[in-house]
C-alpha cells in the first residue's frame, strides 16, 4: 500500500492506523506528551530547564550503554535519568547569601556532567559496532521501532510519575513560588525539590524514547513555556501545557508518517510554532496593558 496524503482526513487517519508500529508510536507519543506537558510546566516555573536538558542527555549513554551490553534500552534510559536526577538533587542548593554565585556554581557542575554524559554515550556507540543508524534514532527519534513492551513500560512509568506529581503538586508550587515562606510553613523544600527532579528524570527518559535525546525539549519545555505565556493560572497552565504537548505530538507523528523527514523534526517544528505564536500574543497583550 502506497502511503500518500489526501484531502480526506478520515482516510488519512485510517492509513495511519493500518500499521501496528504507527499505533505504538501514537500510543507512546500520547503517554509521553501528557507526562512531559504536566512535569514540564513545573520545570519551567522552577527554571530548571537546564537540569531537564541535562537529564535528557544523560539518557543517551544509558540507552547506548544498554544496547551495547544487550540490555533493554528503556531500562538504560530510565536507570540513567533517575540516577542523574538523584545526583543533581544532591548538589548543594544555591547559596542564600549569594544566589547568583550559587546558581552559577551549580550550573557549572550540571554542565560538566552533561558534557561527560554525551562523551560516554559516544564511546558506547563506538564500542557497539553497527549502531550507525541507531545513533541517529537515539539522538533525533524515530517512529518505527517502538515495541508494545516499550509502550507498557512508558505507561507504567508515566502513571506513576503523574500520581507522585499529583501528591506533591501543591507544596511543590509553594516551594517554587516562595521557598522561604514555604519552609517556614513546614514544607520540606529540599525533599520536594529532589522528588521533582526524579519525576523530571522519568519524564526526560520517556520523552527521549519518542523524540530522541536531543529534542526532548520539544515536549518538555516548548508546550509548558507556551502555556505559561498564555495563562498565569497554575491549574489552567498545566492543562494547557498537556493539551499542546499532545496536539504537537499527534501532528508531528502524523506528518512524519507521510513525509520523508524524521519525527523529531516535525514535533519540534510544531512545538516551536506554538511557542512563537504564544510569544507574539504575550508581547501584544503586555503592550496593551
Amino acid at each position: 500500500m502506497a502511503v500518500h496524503l489526501s484531502w480526506d482526513l478520515g482516510w488519512d487517519v485510517r492509513q495511519l492506523l493500518a500499521f501496528p508500529f504507527m499505533v505504538n508510536a501514537l500510543r507512546a507519543g500520547t503517554i509521553v506528551a501528557v507526562v512531559a506537558g504536566a512535569i514540564g510546566y513545573f520545570m519551567v516555573l522552577r527554571r530548571e530547564s537546564f537540569a531537564g536538558h541535562t537529564l535528557a542527555l544523560i539518557g543517551f549513554p544509558g540507552a547506548a550503554g544498554a544496547t551495547w551490553l544487550g540490555i533493554n534500552e528503556s531500562a538504560g534510559f530510565f536507570g540513567f535519568c533517575v540516577a542523574g536526577a538523584l545526583v543533581i538533587a544532591a548538589l548543594p542548593a544555591q547559596g542564600r547569601a549569594n544566589p547568583l554565585g550559587g546558581y552559577g556554581e551549580r550550573s557549572a557542575v550540571i554542565g560538566t556532567v552533561q558534557a561527560f554524559a554525551l562523551a560516554c554515550g559516544l564511546l558506547f556507540v563506538t564500542l557497539y559496532h553497527g549502531l550507525l543508524s541507531g545513533l541517529n534514532d537515539l539522538l533525533f527519534g524515530t517512529i518505527i521501532g517502538i515495541t508494545s513492551r516499550q509502550v507498557v513500560t512508558l505507561l507504567v512509568a508515566g502513571v506513576a510519575a503523574l500520581a507522585v506529581l499529583a501528591v506533591i503538586a501543591r507544596p511543590l508550587l509553594f516551594a517554587t513560588v516562595d521557598a522561604d515562606v514555604a519552609r517556614a510553613r513546614g514544607v520540606r523544600v529540599r525533599l520536594v525539590g529532589a522528588a521533582f527532579l526524579v519525576l523530571l528524570g522519568v519524564a526526560a527518559a520517556g520523552t527521549s524514547q519518542v523524540t530522541g535525546t536531543l529534542l526532548v525539549f520539544a515536549l518538555l519545555v516548548a508546550p509548558a513555556a507556551t502555556a505559561v505565556r498564555i495563562t498565569a493560572r497554575p491549574v489552567a497552565g498545566v492543562v494547557l501545557s498537556v493539551v499542546i504537548a499532545v496536539v504537537v505530538t499527534w501532528l508531528g507523528e502524523g506528518v512524519a508518517y507521510f513525509s520523508p523527514y524524521p519525527i523529531g523534526f516535525w514535533v519540534t517544528t510544531f512545538a516551536f510554532g506554538f511557542f512563537l505564536l504564544a510569544g507574539g500574543y504575550r508581547a501584544l497583550a503586555d503592550r496593551r496593558g
Binding site: 516555573l45 547569601a97 499529583a166 501528591v167 506533591i168 503538586a169 501543591r170 507544596p171 508550587l173 509553594f174 513560588v177 516562595d178 522561604d180 515562606v181 514555604a182 519552609r183 517556614a184 510553613r185 513546614g186 514544607v187 505559561v228 505565556r229 498565569a232 493560572r233 497554575p234 491549574v235 489552567a236 497552565g237 503586555d286
Partner: protein, 267 residues
C-alpha cells in the same frame, strides 16, 4: 510570663557559622502589639525572626512562641522574608500566591472546582485581598506588579490563615516614600483591627514610628526593649553598643541615629 505573651526570650543566644551573633537577649511581646526590631546591618535581626519560627535553634537561653517551643505553632504565624521580590517572569497570579498561604503546605492538588472547602478558601482569599486593598490587581501575574503591590499581596498571604503573630522582615525596604507610608498604615490597621501582634524588622524606623508600641533594639551583647521614646535615645543606645551614638530629631519629628556600628556589611 503571662498567657497572653506571644513571644518571650530569656537570656537567649544564637550562634551561626561558628560565631555568636547575639547573646543575653530578653524579649517580651504581648498579644496584639506592634513591635519594631531595629539594629545595624548584620546584627541578627533576620536571625531573630528565624529563631521565632524555629528555623534556627538558640544556642542558649529560653525562647517561647505562642505558648510553646519555637516552630510548634507556625500555623499561627504569618511570615514575610527579607528582600522578597518576584521578577517580571514570574507567571503566577497574585491570588495564587495568597492562596498558597492558605493551604500550600498540604499534599495534593488544589482543584479550582470542588466543595465547601474550596469555597471557604476562595472567600478567605478574597477577604484578605480586599483587606490589603489589592482587589484591582490581585488577578494579574505577580511578576508584573510594582514593589508596593507585591508587598501588599505578600502581607495578604501572611494574613490569610488568621495568624496571631506576623513576622515582617524589612517589608518597607524596597518601597518609595509614598508606599512606605501607605504600607506602614496598612500594617498598623491590620494589627489593630485583627488583633495580630506584629514584629517588623526595619532599617528606618520613621515610617512606623507613630504606630509602635515597643521597639526591640538588638546588639551583639544584648537587647533593649521598650517604648520608642525610651529606647531610641543617645544614652540608651550608647550604653547598648558601648560606642558614642547620637539621636537627632528634625523639625517633623523624624529620628536619625548617628554612629551605630555596622557589625558586618554583606551582600
Amino acid at each position: 510570663m503571662s498567657r497572653a505573651d506571644v513571644v518571650t526570650a530569656r537570656g537567649a543566644a544564637v550562634r551561626r557559622g561558628g560565631r555568636t551573633v547575639w547573646s543575653g537577649v530578653d524579649v517580651t511581646v504581648h498579644a496584639g502589639e506592634f513591635v519594631a526590631v531595629l539594629g545595624p546591618n548584620g546584627v541578627g535581626k533576620s536571625t531573630f525572626l528565624q529563631v521565632v519560627l524555629g528555623l534556627v535553634a538558640p544556642a542558649d537561653g529560653e525562647v517561647r512562641v505562642l505558648g510553646g517551643a519555637p516552630g510548634s505553632a507556625n500555623r499561627r504565624i504569618g511570615y514575610l522574608p527579607q528582600r522578597h521580590a518576584f521578577d517580571a517572569g514570574t507567571r503566577v497570579r497574585g491570588v495564587d500566591v495568597v492562596r498558597l498561604g492558605w493551604d500550600g503546605d498540604r499534599w495534593g492538588v488544589p482543584l479550582p472546582f470542588g466543595g465547601a472547602r474550596a469555597k471557604a478558601a476562595r472567600e478567605r482569599v478574597d477577604e484578605v485581598v480586599e483587606l490589603v486593598g489589592a482587589g484591582d490587581y490581585a488577578h494579574r501575574p505577580i511578576g508584573r506588579l510594582s514593589g508596593g503591590e507585591q508587598q501588599r499581596l505578600l502581607i495578604a498571604q501572611a494574613l490569610v490563615r488568621r495568624p496571631d503573630l506576623l513576622l515582617l522582615d524589612e517589608p518597607l525596604d524596597s518601597l518609595d516614600v509614598t508606599n512606605q507610608a501607605s504600607v506602614s498604615a496598612l500594617i498598623q490597621h491590620v494589627c489593630r483591627s485583627q488583633g495580630v501582634a506584629v514584629l517588623l524588622v526595619a532599617h528606618d524606623v520613621n515610617p512606623i514610628l507613630p504606630y509602635l508600641d515597643q521597639v526591640l533594639y538588638l546588639a551583639p551583647t544584648g537587647a533593649i526593649m521598650g517604648p520608642p521614646a525610651d529606647v531610641i535615645t543617645a544614652d540608651t543606645l550608647t550604653m547598648l553598643y558601648g560606642t558614642p551614638i547620637d539621636v537627632l530629631h528634625d523639625r517633623t519629628g523624624r529620628l536619625v541615629v548617628v554612629g551605630q556600628p555596622d557589625t558586618h556589611e554583606h551582600h
